[in-house]
Amino acid sequence: MTPVLFWALKLALLLLAVAMLCALARLMIGPTAQDRVTALDCLYVNGMLMMLVLGIVYASNVYFEAAMLTALFGFVGSTAMAKFLLRGEVIE
């Protein structure tokens, strides 16, 4: 791995960490519940992107399953919480 790719991947990880911190800040200070759910969804997407970058860093296939599961759980969680905000219960 040349230094170009090495430092580019380090920079990508740093940018994604900053993105996750921004989403975490919104998750903490969000005035309403729907703000927090949006921030959690954004946090999930950023974590999934970080999984993909780590897959390139370690040249490993295993991270794709982790990224796929992260995307799946993010969707299920956000949908369930949006449904809860809409009706007050998830399964009616």
Partner: protein, 121 residues
Amino acid sequence: MNDFIVGPLPLWAEIVTAVFAVLGAAFAAIGSFGLVRLPTFFRRIHAPTLGATVGVWCMTIATIVYFSVQGYSLFLHAVLIVLFIALTAPITTIFLMRAALFRERQKGGDVPPAAKSGAPD
């Protein structure tokens, strides 16, 4: 896990991977920064879309190029993630938007009134 040949890649593949990885991460960071910066929820909901579309696409191109060149075969598993995100992100956004509108109307906020067609909103 070890069925890849871990060795030096051609320079163009490393450059393409590096550019797309940084680009995807930068778009995700811009989207998340907008989540912090924008004033109201109805503007804020649009910001993470940037990371969920352009960020995921760029990162997927980077992984596809890297693993295809490294394994000497076309590596398309990552497209599954993009398709899944592209299918589910609008659904989540629409659900959250409807929930936010519903709660804002219950509080008597300044949002457009519900449609009169009787559809639950």
